[in-house]
Amino acid sequence: MIIAEKKPIEEIIDEVKDFDRILILGCNECVTVCEAGGKKEVEILASALRMYFINKGSEKKVDEKTLERQCDHEYLEELRSTIDDYDAIVSLACGVGVQFAAEKYLTTPLIPGVNTVCLGANEARGLWTERCQACGSCVLARTGGICPVSRCAKRVLNGPCGGSTNGKCEISKEVDCAWQLIIDRLKALDKMGDYEKVAPIKDWSTDRAGGPRTVTREDVKI
């Protein structure tokens, strides 16, 4: 899923302080699961903003709403009838949701309330870690199911580099060396012979290097 984390409240206040009617808009998908932008976080942020404005002696309207998804026309349409009741929307969706809402409601300022961090998994309670960088050309079949693009700090395709120590990356003792994990997994699969196959120079045109990416499916078009 897409992993996000809450922006500091000061940053959000700085963006919304000049608006009088504010909607805090949550999303019921990834950001709910990673506890950054679901219904609960919408309530918390709205309360914090109300308290801030009351303490400042200003009267502002801060409403709450959480959509099923913000990356879908159908659900964003639910705002259509009330959009003009607000001077600004603070979206707690990922960057996709914020932009989709902005594209739909051209004259309403959209302010992100979270930082979108990565594509990751919930590794443990309160810990979300990256697993994929959406490079557009998956190499996992050749790397024991562990991704060197997203999990190696140098995205080395023929690793590990010389900085791998005790299974950890040179950038931090807290970070696993992706290539140690790859080797452990190749061993478990009894496929260490694959280690010596040289990974070819990668075509990064499917990555962000190739410009904004699209997927077109004629078979599902209406």
Binding site: A153, K154, R155, V156, L157, N158, G159, P160, C161, G162, G163, S164, T165, N166, G167, E170, I171, C177, Q180, I183, M192, Y195, E196, V198, A199, P200, I201, W204
Partner: protein, 310 residues
């Protein structure tokens, strides 16, 4: 390994069966070429070629290529170090051609320390290619006379291509397979990480020799004299992938502070003498970090001076 592929003096020395010697020179954090020239002049007669580091430890410095040109214009043979951290395949190929235009005949392909160690921790890293793919690229440009994109190169770069190996990084069991991969990619010479744990190094090179790898590439053992016990402890604890055994630290601690530098040189000399006899060691890469003036003493004491004329 006997046919010469380039005009590299280093290649000639190694292929003639001599023990090859290289040293290195870190470009300055400024634009004063005199600093490079001074270092080059100190060691030029004691080694066969001089590596020029490429923004080592990710600290921004004068470019490796520019510093190589300064050495080359003095008649010194450089080894252009290139890391894949800062440049994509366009820039890497372009710099290889730039180096070749000055007839710089050697290069060493590296991934480079992560930028978080340096002065631009907030910068992007590139890693469009990895170090092995850079070796492949350089060999392809030289041997096929083509760019990665397939177009023909007018006057292809005649560069002797090397790679680094760290026998001490983890996991140990893939260190030799990893060397095999670098050789398969086209690495003609290998310069290793600084060696302090001789037993582990010997085990690594024995395994490499068992697979016939030492017949396919020239392995130059990396040596860095310790200036002090503080440096030894720093290398042990803070430098990724470095293996400094406790007995080295104990030996340096055992002498007075003002004698530690000499002790460090003595250790280095002893290590070279021991490794000279090890099957598969084709040469030494002496990295006397900001201590270039000690290279002549080390080379003389290990009996590798004067350098062979080939």
């Amino acid at each position: 390994m006997s046919t010469l592929n380039t005009a590299s003096h280093l290649e000639k020395v190694l292929k003639a069966g001599h023990i090859g010697l290289t040293s290195e020179c870190g470009p300055p954090r400024g634009s004063d070429a005199e600093e490079v020239k001074k270092k080059g002049a100190l060691i030029r007669d004691y080694v066969d070629a001089i590596n020029v580091t490429d923004n080592q430890t990710a600290m921004t410095r004068m470019s490796s290529l520019a510093a190589c040109v300064h050495l080359k214009l003095m008649g010194i043979e450089p080894v252009l170090q290139m890391v894949t951290r800062d440049r994509n395949r366009v820039a890497l190929q372009s710099d290889i051609l730039g180096a070749a235009s000055f007839d710089i005949p050697n290069m060493l392909c590296l991934s480079g320390d992560h930028q978080s160690f340096g002065d631009c921790a907030q910068g992007q890293n590139v890693h469009d290619l990895d170090s092995m793919q850079l070796v492949q690229t350089a060999r392809y440009m030289r041997d096929e006379g083509k760019f990665l994109g397939g177009d023909k190169i007018k006057r292809p770069p005649k560069i002797f291509v090397g790679a680094a190996a760290n026998p001490f990084a983890d996991p140990f069991e893939i260190r030799v397979p990893r060397l095999a991969k670098k050789i398969a990619c086209g690495a003609e010479f290998i310069q290793t990480q600084c060696i302090y744990n001789l037993d582990k190094f010997k085990e690594w090179i024995r395994r490499a020799a068992d697979r016939g790898l030492t017949e396919k590439t020239f392995i130059m053992a990396g040596m860095t004299p310790m200036k002090s016990v503080g440096m030894a402890k720093y290398m042990k604890n803070r430098v990724p992938g470095m293996d400094v055994p406790d007995d080295i630290i104990a030996r340096l601690s055992g002498v007075a502070k003002d004698k530690q530098a000499q002790e460090g040189i003595d250790i280095c000399v002893e290590h070279i003498q021991e490794l000279k006899e090890v099957n598969g060691v084709s040469g030494f890469h002496i990295m006397a970090i900001e201590w270039e003036e000690k290279v002549p003493e080390i080379v003389e004491r290990v009996g590798l001076y004067p350098r062979p004329k080939v």
